[in-house]
């Protein structure tokens, strides 16, 4: 019998990564959250309600679409797209916010908070706040507020308050600091909906649980279409929630190769990138031990990416673990190559992807021609690109 893969351990570790590095004030709340989560995951009525919302509210399952023209153009492996861009609110983030909102409701919290980079997680949080009737504050760096104006407006329409964060690089890292500070202050009535597989235990585990629907669906869909498992799964990695969601259900299928695509920004040889796994080193930030971009003193570096959702100097501990045990390969794609991926999918398939997902598309477009025609690649299209139009306009002129 195959040994069942079980991570994290009781202390929230994936190998040497993970843990709970937070102020004492939050320790009890984390324990309470862990208890409620474990109870909920065994509770049929909770799971039924979660499924109901995923299906009837978020529109799941999302299609696994055969990218016929793209496949033909690249002339190699067959490319399938997991269409998370078609989920309600336009990205995979809704899977996690629905799960956490249902938990927050069970815990009797009146208020939810979130950090956001691209604004997709912020929108998904504002959305569940509206549908379940929570008060909602979303922390967002002023740099991201500038470059993701559409999502800022959407959050406001949904009734959330967007709190501008002006510290540090004014991006996702700083928004996360500020959300944690809010949580430390209001922990008694507030649930913090972290948007990625980062943070202290049980967050990386919980977010993986809620995002695993991506990989579970993709697996049954590809088996139905191709009668076999794919050869490659390719997904972008910022904090790493869409990629873990896609990868994890295939963990024990050793023949399926995982590729996580990070943001190389202006190039991994420069200081302006967000390639945490490719270029970073282990350290402790935002509640867990994982790979980080840090300087010689252990101060956290400012990341850079054209895509706000990948612009983060940390990464989920489970990804660090996958890197360590060589279960996944991590690569990085530059801003300009991501724009190429963005354009390629738009023109070839009529799908305008998020700039985050465009990193994965570009990598897959280089991988596919090297493979045989009977090989299969699944790319996670983690979100739609409407939010990025203003940024892309600055780079692609007609």
């Amino acid at each position: 019998m195959r040994k069942k893969h079980k991570t994290p351990d009781k202390r929230g570790y994936f190998g040497e990564f993970g843990g709970k590095f937070v102020p004492e004030t939050l320790m009890h709340a984390l324990k309470e959250l862990e208890g409620e989560l474990n109870k909920a995951l065994r509770d049929r009525s909770f799971l039924k309600e979660f499924d109901y919302y995923l299906k009837d509210y978020a529109g799941r399952p999302t299609p696994l679409y055969f990218a016929k023209r793209l496949t033909k153009k690249l002339g190699g492996a067959a490319i399938y797209l997991k269409r998370e861009d078609l989920a309600h609110t336009g990205a995979h983030k809704i899977n996690n916010t629905l799960g956490q909102a249902l938990l927050a409701k069970k815990m009797g919290k009146q208020r939810i908070i979130a950090e956001t980079g691209a604004g997709q997680h912020g929108v998904a949080t504002a959305t569940v706040a509206a549908v379940f009737g929570f008060e909602c504050d979303v922390y967002m760096g002023t740099e991201d507020i500038r470059r993701q104006a559409l999502n800022v407006y959407r959050m406001k329409l949904l009734g959330a308050k967007v709190v501008p964060v002006t510290s540090g690089s004014c991006t996702l890292k700083d928004a996360t600091n500020e959300a944690i500070r809010d949580w430390v202050t209001n922990v008694r009535n507030t649930h913090y909906i972290l948007g990625s597989v980062v943070g202290p235990h049980p967050y990386p585990f919980m977010v993986r649980k809620f995002q695993s629907v991506i990989g579970k669906e993709a697996k049954s869909q590809i088996l139905k279409i191709k009668k076999r498992l794919p050869d490659y799964l390719v997904a972008c990695v910022g904090g790493g929630s869409n990629s873990i969601g896609l990868f994890h259900p295939f963990f024990n299928d050793k023949k399926v190769k995982f590729v996580g695509v990070e943001a190389a920004g202006r190039g991994v040889a420069t200081k302006e990138h967000a390639a945490t796994l490719v270029k970073g080193a282990p350290g402790i930030l935002h509640g867990s031990r994982s790979y980080l971009l840090q300087d010689k003193d252990g101060q956290i570096n400012i990341a850079h990416s054209i895509s706000a959702g990948l612009d983060y100097p940390g990464v989920g501990p489970e990804h660090s673990y996958y890197k360590k045990i060589k279960r996944a390969k991590y690569v990085a794609v530059t801003d300009s190559d991501a724009l190429r991926g963005f354009r390629l999918l738009s023109e070839c398939e009529g799908i305008i992807p998020a700039l985050e997902s465009a990193h994965a598309i570009h990598y897959a477009s280089k991988l596919a021609p090297k493979l045989k025609k009977n090989n299969t690649i699944v790319i996670c299209i983690s979100g739609r690109g409407d939010k990025d139009i203003d940024i892309v306009k600055e780079h692609i002129k007609f």
Binding site: H28, G168, R181, V184, V187, I284, D297
Partner: protein, 264 residues
């Protein structure tokens, strides 16, 4: 005996309470910090917490965030701060403890950090993002060198947690007065009295209260209850207002003396 234990033993005999001040090392620069530490000792401070600035201080409010940024801009790091401490240790007798975030300690290496800090004349360490559950290695290393590991207790800590925090803490236990980040507050929560009393029932180790304390009145009230009072942001605000001015030390000293009178 560790300087911290000696301090609390001495104070207990005199039925006095400890006055602890936090300042960020390198704010506005390390030579000012060195002078400030000697000035603090002269002004009635019993123990100084030296903050090693971190880029992402998530347990700190705006005042200490700004102080950290100022210090980092000037290039303060563990090495340069250790050098400053070696120098100031020749001038002061009071216990010194480091307060910083875990990534800086882990990055320097736990053993190296404890060894070099101890050699420089630092007596202990407070790490706000390191709960005792994650501190097994540090506790082991620090214990061998008689270097105090000071853990934080919070209003949200359960009784089981308080017991564990108390048993793992050396030197003193840092009771966080409120749910929140550091920063001067006009009002402090009502439940401090009850919470400190119940913590004191659990442990015989000194309990010092910090976070939010900004004036002599608050300090005096809490000093009746706890074994020590910690003031940080309120002092840093005075430093911030007087950066570059000749009488910075005097201004800080005047403010600190007021607090010392209230506590002692």
């Amino acid at each position: 005996m560790n300087r911290i234990d000696a301090l609390f033993k001495g104070l207990k005999k005199k039925r006095k309470k400890a006055f602890i001040v936090y300042i960020t090392a390198g704010d506005p620069n390390l030579s000012v910090t060195e002078k400030l530490i000697t000035e603090l000792e002269k002004s009635g401070v019993d123990l100084v917490e030296i903050g090693i600035p971190f880029s992402d201080p998530l347990a700190d409010g705006p005042t200490i965030q700004r102080a950290s940024q100022r210090a980092l801009k000037k290039g303060a790091n563990v090495k340069s701060i250790l050098k400053m401490v070696r120098s100031v240790r020749k001038k002061v007798k009071l216990p010194l403890v480091f307060m910083t975030y875990y990534n800086l300690v882990a990055h320097y290496g736990l053993s190296n950090f404890v060894r070099d800090s101890g050699k420089a004349g630092v007596d202990g360490l407070i790490v706000p993002d390191l709960p005792p559950e994650e501190a097994k290695a540090l506790i082991g290393i620090a214990g061998k060198r008689n270097f105090a590991t000071i853990f934080l207790a919070a209003p949200t800590s359960t009784k089981d947690r308080l017991k564990n925090i108390a048993s793992k803490s050396k030197g003193f236990i840092y009771y966080v007065s409120l749910t929140g980040v550091t920063g001067a507050r006009k009002k402090l929560p009502q439940d401090i009295v009850k919470n400190v009393k119940s913590l004191k029932r659990i442990t015989a180790k000194p309990v010092c209260v910090g976070f939010g304390i900004s004036n002599p009145k608050q300090a005096k009230k809490l000093a009746r209850l706890a074994d020590g009072i910690i003031v940080g942001s309120a002092v840093i605000k005075i430093i911030e207002k007087n950066i570059g001015k000749k009488d910075l030390n005097k201004k800080v000293s005047a403010f600190v003396k007021g607090l010392a009178r209230a506590i002692h």
